[in-house]
Every structure is written in C-alpha cells, then in structure tokens.
Symmetry: D2
Subunit: 363 residues, 4 copies
Amino acid sequence: MSGSIFGNIFRVTTWGESHGLALGAVIDGCPAGLLLDESDIQKMLDRRRPGTSKYTTARKEADSCEILSGVFEGKTTGTPISVMVRNTDQRSRDYSAIAHVYRPGHADYTYQEKYGIRDYRGGGRSSGRETIGRVIGGAVAEKILSELGINVIAYTSSIGDIKIDKFDPEYLPSDPLGMPDKDASDKAQEYLKKCMADLDSAGGVIECRISGAPAGLGEPVFDKLESELAKAVMSIGAVKGFEAGDGFSVSKSRGSTDNDPFYMDGDRVKKSSNHSGGMLGGMSDGSDIIIRAAVKPTPSISKQQETVSDHGTDETIEIKGRHDPVIVPRAVVVVESMAAITVADMLLRNMSSKLDSLREFYK
Amino acid sequence: MSGSIFGNIFRVTTWGESHGLALGAVIDGCPAGLLLDESDIQKMLDRRRPGTSKYTTARKEADSCEILSGVFEGKTTGTPISVMVRNTDQRSRDYSAIAHVYRPGHADYTYQEKYGIRDYRGGGRSSGRETIGRVIGGAVAEKILSELGINVIAYTSSIGDIKIDKFDPEYLPSDPLGMPDKDASDKAQEYLKKCMADLDSAGGVIECRISGAPAGLGEPVFDKLESELAKAVMSIGAVKGFEAGDGFSVSKSRGSTDNDPFYMDGDRVKKSSNHSGGMLGGMSDGSDIIIRAAVKPTPSISKQQETVSDHGTDETIEIKGRHDPVIVPRAVVVVESMAAITVADMLLRNMSSKLDSLREFYK
Amino acid sequence: MSGSIFGNIFRVTTWGESHGLALGAVIDGCPAGLLLDESDIQKMLDRRRPGTSKYTTARKEADSCEILSGVFEGKTTGTPISVMVRNTDQRSRDYSAIAHVYRPGHADYTYQEKYGIRDYRGGGRSSGRETIGRVIGGAVAEKILSELGINVIAYTSSIGDIKIDKFDPEYLPSDPLGMPDKDASDKAQEYLKKCMADLDSAGGVIECRISGAPAGLGEPVFDKLESELAKAVMSIGAVKGFEAGDGFSVSKSRGSTDNDPFYMDGDRVKKSSNHSGGMLGGMSDGSDIIIRAAVKPTPSISKQQETVSDHGTDETIEIKGRHDPVIVPRAVVVVESMAAITVADMLLRNMSSKLDSLREFYK
Amino acid sequence: MSGSIFGNIFRVTTWGESHGLALGAVIDGCPAGLLLDESDIQKMLDRRRPGTSKYTTARKEADSCEILSGVFEGKTTGTPISVMVRNTDQRSRDYSAIAHVYRPGHADYTYQEKYGIRDYRGGGRSSGRETIGRVIGGAVAEKILSELGINVIAYTSSIGDIKIDKFDPEYLPSDPLGMPDKDASDKAQEYLKKCMADLDSAGGVIECRISGAPAGLGEPVFDKLESELAKAVMSIGAVKGFEAGDGFSVSKSRGSTDNDPFYMDGDRVKKSSNHSGGMLGGMSDGSDIIIRAAVKPTPSISKQQETVSDHGTDETIEIKGRHDPVIVPRAVVVVESMAAITVADMLLRNMSSKLDSLREFYK
C-alpha cells in the first residue's frame, strides 16, 4: 500500500528519487487565504541543503523550488499546492560498485526484497534527498502555525556523548551542527573530525520544541498527539528512537515527581513543571510540546564492511565518495518539518470536537 | 476527528469507558478462514485483568468477552468481528472528590479543554480499561500471525533502575511483573514495595520481540514499519518513549558498529548483528524485530498533590482507593497487542507490492 | 480491505449478521455536547423494522437498541458511541435448501468467491438487516443536523411505473409505502398485490431532500458532496442507480435550461431554479440538496428460478418463507440515514477550509 | 479536508489549475515491475485533448506529459509516480467579465463561499483541465489491468435524445463524439450543430464496460465495487447521474426478470443475463461490469444569462470565446480512467480477503 502520503486533513504527498529528474510534494487540505510564495519554502530547503559546511556531503544542489499550483495572487486557494525541486547534479556515475551489493545499514536489501527491483542510484527513494518533500510540507505547515502564534524549533541536542548545556537562540542559526551551545558544538566538531579520520560516522539526538499551541490538540485513542508525532518523526530515515517530555527517563521516575502540578495563573491553568512534554492523555496541555529523535550514525562509511551481493555471494564493500559524517545537522529541519506538519494537521482535526463549535461556525 | 480506529486494511475500532456499560472492539478486514473463538481472546484479556497480583489494582472485573459477529462455524468470514466485554464492577461511588478537580498526570484537564465535557467516572475513555479493545484486536492479530509462523512476545525489561539480565521464557509466565528474570523481578518487587510504602508509584520499560516475520514489511516513506509501530505503541496511555533496535544508544554509536554486516547462510541473507532491530529503511529485514516502550509511573498516587479545579481554584488532592503502583506489568500485553495489530496490518498491506504477485494471485 | 467503515471525521463502523447474536454500529468523531438517548435512535430504527405492514416480511424483531458508550449524563462526550441491537428471532431453521445453492440476484456467489466461506443463514452480512448499523449512524447524524437547522427527509417517489404527483408531508408518515401521495400509494399497493400474487417482487425509486444546508459543503476534486452521497447511497444493497438534481434527464437538457440563474434576495444569493439539485462543482450551493436512488426488486421470490450449487451443479430454487415484495419502503430510512451521515461528515470536513476560520477558532 | 486524493492502496493525488503553470498527478501504491513510459500516458491524454474536432474548444494545448519519478529502467519501482503536464496556452487574457460574476451552472459561487477566494482564470481547479490528473492515473491503472487481462472501454451512449443502437468497435476510435454507431453519431452531430446555432449546449450519457475482471472485487459493506465506482464517476465535473447494470430501469422491473439465472459452463459459474451489470452484493460476479454516467450540458454558453456578482448585484452575462458545445466526447476517457483507477484499487484491496491467500503468499 502506498506510504507516501501523510496526514488526515492537511495531507502531504511526497515523491522523487535521489537521482531522478526531480523531487516534490503536493499539499492537499491547506486552508485558503494563507500568504505563500517560494521564498517561504526556499528558506527551509536551504537549511537541509548539502554542501553548507565541512560536515555535510559535497554534492552540489541548488535545491531551488517552484510552486506549480494552489497559489493565486500570493495566497493559497484551498486547492492542492504542488511544489517541485529539479535535480541538477545528475552527472553520470559509475554505480557498478553498489548496483548489486547491499550496503550495510541501508535499505538496499529490504527494497529489493519488497519490490523485486530497486533504483540503486544514490539510494533512489530511500535517499536522504527524499526529505525535500517533507521540508516543503513543513514550510507550508510552519507558515500556518506562525499565523496562529505557534512556533516550532528543532536543534541538535547531542552528538555522540556530547550534550548541549544551554540554549542560545542567537547563536543557533550560525552553528554548523545545529547546536544552540557553542562550547558543546566545538567539542562535537572535535569528535566528528576524529570519526572522519577513522573513516567512520557519528550519531546524535535532535530535540524539537513547539510553543504557543492551545490545549486539546490530539485525538484519543489511537491518534494522540504523541502517537502522531512519533509516527511522523520515526518515519524519517535513520531515526531509531522517539521521546516525548521526559521520555525514557520516566521509567526511573516516581509518580510524585513525574506528575506536573497544576496551578492557577490568573484565570489560566498552568503547570509548575513540564515532565509530560506538553501532552497529557495524548492531547496538548498548553505547555511547550517537547520531543526528541535519536539519529543513527550515517551508514555510508569508507571503512571496509562485510556484506553480500544480490546474487547471493559474500562481498566486502568500501563506500566511495564523500558522505555526511553525521546526519544530525541536516536532519534538524526535517524533524522540525514533520513536527510542524503533524501539529498543523491536528489543529485542523481538532476544530470539530465540540457541537458548540459547529453551532458557532454555521450560525 | 475520530481517533478510535487503527490500521489500514486490518482495522480495529475500539470503544467504551471505564465505568460505562461495556467496552469492546470491532475488527474489520480480518481475512476469512481463521479459526477463532472466545478462548483465543479471553486468554489475552486475562493477562491484563486487574486483581491478579498485589501490584495491581484490587478492582474485580471478570472481563469476560463475547464474540457478537464475524465468526461462523468457528471461522472468521471476512466480515467485521465485534467483541464486547461488559463492565461488572459498577457499584455507585462517590466521585465528588475528582468530578471537578484535575488529577495531575491524568487526561482530565485536556479532555475538558478539548470536548468541554468529560466522563469523570474512573477517567472515562482515558482509563486503562480502554486497552481492553486493543487486547481484543491484538488477540485476533496474533492468531493470524501464528498461522504464518510469526511470534510476538512482550515482557518487562526494567522497573525503576532494575533491568533484566537474562531472558528465561519458562519463568516468564509466572512472574507477577512480567519479567523474564527472577532475580531482577525480586529486586523490582522490593523497589515497588518501597514506592507503595511512600504512597508513590514507579515506571519501567517494556520490550517486545517479533520473530519469524518476512523481510519487506513496511511502506516507505511515511508508513515505515518503524513509524507505524511507533504510532501504535506511543498511543498507549502512559508511554512516553519508543525505541527500535538500539534506540537512543545509536546516538553514541558509530557507523562501523551500528551497521549490521550481511552474510550468506546457504541461500539466505542474514545479518551477523541486529543493531537495527530488524528494520532497515523502515522495512523488516528478516531479523527479529525489537522495540521498546518507556512507561511513566502511575499518575494516581495517594500522596497529596497540588492541582486546580475546573472552576479555576487552586486545590490539593489525595487520590483515594487502591491503584496499580506500577502500570508496566499490565501494559505488557497491551504493547504486545499493538505490535501484533501493526504487523498484521503491514503483512496485508505488503501483498500488492509487486506486479508479479498480482499476476500470480489473479491467474 | 475492510469496507465496514464510512466517513472521514464522522465515522461509522457497522457490524453484524442477519442471524448472528447482534448487530450494531460504532460512531467515532461525533462532536461532544450533543443531547442523545436511545429514543433518538429507536424512532429511526422503528421506521425500518420488519412486520409493520403487509408489504414487509413477517419476521418479528423488536430491534431495540442499547447505547453502550459515548454518552454521559445525556450528552455525547466526543468518544465513540457504541450502539447494539440484539437479534431475538433466532429460532433454528432449516437452511439446507439454500446452504449450498446460490440465490439469483443475491450476494451468495460473490461472497463465496471472495472469502471462500459464507454465512448462509439469512444472507449473513449481505442481509438487509445490515442496514441497522446505518440507521444507528443516521440517527446520530440527523440529531447533529437538526441542531444546525438542517433537515433530511426521504420518501418513496415511485414503485414500478407509479410515480408520486405531489408531496403531502402530513400524510407521509402514515403511508405504508413511504409515499407522500395517497393516490399514488393506492395504485402502487394494487401493483404490489399483483406482484405478490405472481410470486414476484417490485422495484422503485427513493428521493431524499436535504434543506437548510449552508453553501460550500463538499471537498473538490474527488470528495465532492455529489460523489460522497453517491458512494453512500450506492453502498446500500439493491440500489443500482443514483441521481443528483435532474439526474439522467440532464442528458436531454440544454445549457440554457439546465443552468440555474442566480439572483439577489436582499443580501443573499439565490437561484431561480434548482436543476443542479443544490450542488455546483460538487459543493452545496445553498438550495435544497436533492438525490434519488433506484432500488431493484427484492431478489428473494417464491417463483422457481434457475441457479447452481456451490459444488458445481445446475439447480432450481424456490425461495420459501415470506419476503418483502418490495424493498423500497423499508429502504427509505436507510437512504435518509446515509444522506445524513454524509452531510454530517462533510459539515465537519468543511470547517477548516479558510485560514480565517482557524484564526477565529484559535484566537 | 483534502479531496484531491483518490483510492486506498492504489492512490492518485491530482493537482493543478486551468491557467496555472502545470497540472499533474502522483500515483502512490502502484505495484513494482510494471513496464511504463510516457507514451502509455500520452495516448490517453491525447483522447481528452482540446481542439481535436469541431465539437471541442479551440484552445490549443499539446498536453505533453513528463514522468518525473517512480520509473527506473522502464519499470515502476513501487515508489510514487509523479507525472506533470505544463500549461502552454497561457497568454494573458481579459478576465474582467467573469472575475467578479458567478457563471450559472459553474462552481464559481460555491468555491467563493467555501474558500473565500477563487482562481477565476478559466475556472481554476474546477476547470475540465483538472481531469488531466485523472487521465494520468487512469493510464497507469489501465496498464496494470491489461497485464491481468482486464479491459476497460468507455464510449458515448447518447447525446440529447439520440441513443446508440449498436456497438461497432472498429468504428469507435474515429468517431468525433466517441460513439460506436455512425448513424447515431451523424444524428447527434446534427443536433449539436443546432445547439451551437442556438448559442446553447447539449448533454449526454457515457457508458463504460469492464471485461475480464475476476469475481469477488469490492469490499462490503460501504466500499462495494458499485459504491466506489459511483463515487469515482460522480466526482467528475458535470456528471449528475450514475447507473450500474440496468440502473434506473430496475425500478420498473420485477424480481423474476431482474435476477440473473446462474448456470454451469463446464466448471465455471456463469449467468444467462446481466441485469446486475456484473455486480452482486457490491462485488464483481465475473460478468462484464457495466456502468453509465449522465453528463449535463456544458454550462458555458454564449446565450445571455441572469446571474449575480460577488459584491451582491444582479447581472447578466454572455460567456465569450468558444467552448465545447458538449462535454461528453472529451469526458469519455475520463470516465474510463476513473473506472480503471477504481478497479485497480479494488484488485489490490481484494488480495487479503482469505487467510489461505496469506499462507500462500508468505510461505
């Protein structure tokens, strides 16, 4: 069954392969009347573009986007928004080394098993370039959220053993690793240089914070905000773990600590702590929504590895070319995008929860 | 929007509140010809039933199930399977203490915000009793999986700081905490007694292992096996974290370690390690599928807590009655159920991946 | 794939077989705060109950419904509403005449081909009793619509050659055929008596009118109001045709006639005719929405028919027992229900069309 | 909610406006291994292209398609197939006559009401050019069906009062009105010339026949083959009626006539008539599947019409330019496409109906 469509009302369909002609997304269900132009999307795409620092692949792609439909006189019309990015770096290559060998840690083997065929050029659809469609969707979603005073921000919270100790929003945009802490970033860069010298790669953790969201987003039982965010984030290649709020550390906590006390702040209900990560019973509780994604080390490494071919022989492989020694920095905007898409969809889904809202809307 | 339906082909709709007349599930899309009777479901329900050990609530419920449709002469017919469990322990209670006060760590506040109304009797739909419907669905799913040689087993891997050191399948069924390691369980029980003495509660981690699944399950891009499992498991109340394979520890790993080497075992492709948890590119790779869920401490504790009322006053609350001091043991079968439902659905979704399969099917 | 779930936000899951223990429906996505009790549903169920006139089967069923969840203190809570009707007329019968023979015009053969098994007792899931679940859903949907000033009414517009000439709303409820025209009904009853004397059955047409709906309901391109209504109505057993507005007669019309002129009535846009049946471009235009369903003659007839057995022999069959000589009168409330469910769902889907609506809702 | 995605496993997302940069479709869920190139799609697109006869608009569009993803080395890979058609005839026009006036019979008013904004250039998304995306999806679907020996063919069965009397497959491709009967077509052309002379337009009926489909396609209860086909066809602009098999004439038939007798033809079950149109109980019965669509007269006519402006004044309008005097001939391939998409989707959905099929597939 098709797995390239995400969302229920705000729905994002993505398409495209690493070395195909183009990649893109179609956003259906975007409310009409949103100011939108290519620059809104381009600035998000630029954050995931390759070649922006020494810790990313040298592939040169402008990744310049074109809005093909759904916008008229600068505003969305409610009809599908189709956005395309042409691939430009498609010089012919020699794929003979990987065309018939399964790269460890990659999707080569599973694609072949599932479909009986795979586009081996740069990983085809399983390439990180697939995330262009997600970022397009995320850019539109963030535009909606910003209209409602909701802010989404993702950043690198750890690489290897090195964790951030502070959150410096001024510094963040300039950090090559997406870390909001210069000291931690410096240490992480040392660690990455060592990994690169070892022909190896590193992993890390991305954190995302959504502030300004109203209480009540999320649809019990199965479509809780937490479960939809988990699906969204775990669908990003290389993500192997997901946390909401205190995440795995809740297992060592106690109820008296983990429960966030409520108090009145004027006529508003607030919490004096946020162990829940802004979600209770799977619905937003008005506090900041906080999630984390664990990202595995780049599977493409230059070190020699044991593997097999698609005709059943044992092989060794050394993956040539320059690859991102760490996926994390470029995945930051992808996590942010998936979070934004999910929250936008849940905002729309939430509108019909109360009969009173229908009465108000249709009066 | 409705959030009580899970799955795409194998679809489970659950319904019911803690203190309503009954709870149940409707399973649509179950293949015809499966041997099924109440005992298949009852034995799963018995694993989540309250009152089975000193670490679970004393509420007495037989939780006895009735199949109302979809089975004829002992076999499923392809039509919806409706299964119901009547609530029997519905003696009238005094809810005045919680009817207008939001219990910290619970969904009271968020339900009120979203719907403008909530069934305060025992948490209504946000109660753990909601999982009866999940277990019904899981029982049917596991029956399908067992027909295909696929086995799903979940167990407690940690409570508080205490982790299992071994996996003893013989011992597991008799352990009151769902741990496959008697030594660890003994320590965990000591810890739980201490929590109970402190009028407090504990959290833990549940692990689930699916063995015998073919390679290729999961639908890229958004509906990867990992992302569907994440959604399934994160939708269970009190779960705050999800891992596949090495999970969060991948962030500290390196590519050369994290990549699982392939090798040929006769004519079969195998992996010499399983850091990936049986999934590559979001599709099963033929190894055991391994996932974990972090479960927060029971939010209902007898200790005094700060909170607010639904008319905007600060309050303190002490939650009366006896509650599970830890949710983990009873949630084990729920995690197993959600994993089984997800894998069953992905098995059905996978059948149309190749044109050759259509040709074979329709020849 | 499962086909027993209808709708996108307001979602109705139905279950149950003709001679199983019970039938029912689960309504997910109903807005919270709707006054609802069993009598709201029962009065709709009573309209489809057998045994109410000489033109319906003599099977005796109270068809009395029980609300099992989703309502608290007389109001919907936003959680799934589960409603069940127990089968009471389940005396053991002799099915040997039809257990292995395919009844012409019925679903026996196709169920057997699809599922390899079928519940031959009274048609199992393909029985008209399946519509109990639809009427349950319809009753809840009509309750929502009535809160918004939207009225849905269905009636028999023709039986055989006899068409209604007028619409008498006072008379309608008392007519045994669901016709709003006593003269036409009298003629139709004569025709039916003749069919019955011939051991034969008759067909007819049901019309449904939805008034008071706002303009803009329906989601272009594929989920137009017309297409969703068509799916809804064509999914009712025995319906073989669907029309919106002028329906098939548009094929003989001209643009200058078929186009409904607009005019201003104060500050409201109105149309001076309604050939479109209240829908333009697949969205409601503010006029009455008018649809029609063609219902085939009851396939169960006492006349001898040629058929085959499920072991591949030619057979003749005479279907014993008393059957409705015409399905139309009892199907009227089913068409009305499916229309109401569809409109309710489209009302909810429509709420997020404009960014301004989001701004208003979340301010 | 988004309405531009059709299907459950084989899913078609369409996008694009009449006077935007481009139109297209993304097909997700197409099985891997299908031979596909642009010519497969182009030949279908050419059948709906404007300017091919005097009965179609004079707008000049090459409507040349480009496959952007999902095909590798000539075969589908199982990943989304993105296909785009650039608009070339975008010379600037004077829209002042229609920018603020609602054309009768068009979607101008309803789009404005729903979205608060509309792309008035050529009808935007409500234009017939929207069907380009449907035909792209239909071309891929027909390619799958042809691999399985299933044939889909649509044709004009009537225009105005003139009905076809025979089916001449040799003649059909050359007929300017899509009629398989030269005599009827000649008469219809006379009728159309008269309509054109009157500055008016005509309607008609399209019939579609699907042969070679196996029994058992269609998912009871709501997702019957008939109901999915009804939704598919009624979603095409200007279609106001749908019939399966005998359609509305069943209302005048009797059970003894309408029921199709079964008989054995060797070891195959056959029917000696086909009043059911190849569907029983909503599932295909192995006979030819026959459906019909009623198409209204082109709403764009040169005759003067009464209407209103979007600022609330009564207006008259004469729609300039040359328009198709009848939509039917160009809609034939669109009906065929929607039927093919639906049947392809139902073929994939049907594969998991029996447990035995799973056992066979996963052994």
